[in-house]
Amino acid sequence: MISQLAFILLLILGTGWFVRNVRKIRKNIGLGRPVNRSDRKAARWKTMARVALGQSKMVRRRAVAGIMHILIYVGFVIINLEVLEIVLDGVLGTHRLFGTLAPGLYAVLIASFEYLAVGVILACLVFLLRRNVLRLKRFSGIEMTAWPKSDANFILVAEILLMAAFLTMNGADYVLQLMGTEGYIRAGAYPVSSHLMLLLPGSEAGLIQVERFCWWFHITGIFIFLNYIPYSKHFHIFLSFPNTWYAKLEPKGKFTNMNEVTQEVKAMLDPSFTPESATPPERFGARDVQDLSWVNLMNAYACTECGRCTAVCPANLTGKLLSPRKIMMDTRDRLEEVGRNKNRHGADYDDGKSLFDYISTEELWACTTCNACVEACPVLIDPLEIILELRRSLVMEESKSPQGWSAMFNHIEHNAAPWQFSPADRLNWAKTNT
């Protein structure tokens, strides 16, 4: 009875704190500008099914990492069925509740969980090796400071510990079942954990202790992990689904046309034109996170810092400062800062900072808008849109641009071409025949 009460308390605290943090993130994402991404629903569901559920982008180009990731993903999703049983057992004070409902199916399920658990442990070990021993280039870079690196390692170690506790718990349970201990009904099949017998204590009391400890360790660990996720890059396990659903469906080359600019330009070209709204917009482009769309902000929370974008960025590959992953991480860091400020000092608080305190013009000017980063992202994040919005602010609000661009703007404005040529010469190509 006491353990049931303790468990219910843990359940309430664990889920309650998680919901509170998710709400905070939702509120932060809501700080972004509105954008309609709810059209063409059928295509959106299809994209989500293919890219998030089906992991289609994970295996492309990086098959090793992709396949191991799928193993962990499938493991995570399926083993959660077991967590459901654990939660019900905890609340109701039962033991292996599902085992009595459908013994045959239960055996198949438990056996498959065990194989998956081994798979997850192995994949996590390989991932740790890649990050810390082989030191793959993709996992370093100026944005990969101490915290992002330990974040990744912490997640992998936590998953290994959880899976190890799960298997040890099963192993002890299996022996107790064989011994006919009271409360340990015969249920399930234990193809992996049955081999742990030699490592376990011989006495019934010792076994019960191990089984109970691992049960509590596993479920408490899950609640701790659940509450770690919103603070971590690991939040992608939830956000990759809405992130792919709300992704841009138009051709990647299509950049948004700013309607507020259309109104002004139309009024300039035709004095009799009446603009849609009389008040000019507060700001052109983005200076800070609130000027970005909510989809851009959701993108930042969906990023798991895998670095596939940066690994294919032509600017980054040739040693320039720009890294699309850093754009996403900076956007999230700044958004968290803005959200914290609003909570502490009220909604109108201005700390005098902006996204430009995180992202430099040198990074922004270096982008070739080639869309390689957008193409590479396994969850359809669009760093390019953020880069463009920041460029718009620099160019249109602050009249900042590299020298070459200022000249190019001038030429286009005065001779309708990016170079200094006269429109009268536009047919010169037809004058020769080589």
């Binding site: 950049f255 046309n257 002004e264 040739t318 070739t368 070459g404 286009i412 309708a416």
Partner: protein, 258 residues
């Protein structure tokens, strides 16, 4: 001359408008691509016209650089001209013009069927109007195709240029990074108009090295900007004697003896 103004003056409507683009109009190397496209159009007898002095920059480099005002000024005045002539279908030899006209003009009131010249060539080959015969033989020659970002990733046109090359009966070799994974030449996003930021290497050199590693004798391109970058790369790596950079339109003209 076949400018749209002249054609319209005689109350006629051309089947197709050839949007030359700024590079195709003014850059000497790109002018050769323009002439090749014009030769193909003449050869197959398509009734077409150009805007000539009435053509302006689509605004692409201004837009990518963040100058939306300038972009829309160009876009809206171009749309005024195009709509004034009742233009329905446009072909262009520049993937940047192609992308802008096709994707960004419709919302601003410019609705046209826009195709890239490699798509036109593909169509003409399928119709049997272009055959790789009567001209230079590319049989067995190693050719690699460099995907232009604004044709490939931006608009998923991967096959049309390749089909045009396959028609040459050449030995088409792929670079390590191609199609959706293709590496940018370094010119897009208005980079062509400014100095690169400090780094270890030029992007066009990185890409040209990859093209050379494929063992190709011809690097095929479908974009005047890529052409500039790849030719500079070949020059810098001192491979001008061994490797040619040619546009797909130029290769088609040569193979057909036009």
């Amino acid at each position: 001359m076949f400018s749209l103004a002249d054609v319209a003056a005689s109350n006629k409507q051309p089947e197709l408008v050839f949007w030359v683009g700024c590079a195709g109009s003014f850059d000497e190397r790109a002018q050769r691509i323009t002439r090749s496209v014009a030769k193909i159009l003449d050869h197959v007898g398509i009734d077409y016209a150009v805007l000539g002095t009435e053509e302006s920059c689509t605004g692409d480099p201004a837009k990518r650089a963040g100058n939306e005002f300038l972009f829309q000024m160009m876009a809206l005045s171009n749309i005024q001209v195009l709509n004034g002539y009742g233009v329905k279908k446009i072909v262009t030899a520049c993937p940047h013009c192609f992308n802008t006209l096709k994707n960004e003009y419709p919302e601003l009131g410019g609705n046209y069927e826009v195709i890239h010249h490699t798509q036109l060539i593909q169509q003409l080959i399928r119709e049997g109007k272009l055959r790789a015969a009567g001209g230079e033989s590319f049989h067995g020659k190693k050719i690699t195709y460099h995907d232009a970002c604004y044709l490939g990733r931006a608009n998923r046109v991967y096959e049309a240029p390749r089909e045009a090359l396959k028609a040459l009966d050449a030995d088409l070799v792929e670079m390590k990074r191609s199609r959706a994974n293709g590496l940018c030449c370094g010119a897009g996003g208005a980079q062509l108009f400014k100095e690169p930021e400090p780094g270890k290497k030029e992007i066009n050199v990185e890409r040209t090295e990859e093209a050379l590693a494929s063992g190709a004798q011809v690097i095929a391109s479908a974009c005047p900007f890529c052409m500039t970058m790849l030719r500079d790369g070949v020059k810098q790596l001192e491979k001008e004697q061994e490797v040619e950079v040619l546009d797909i339109a130029e290769l088609t003209v040569r193979a057909n003896g036009i």
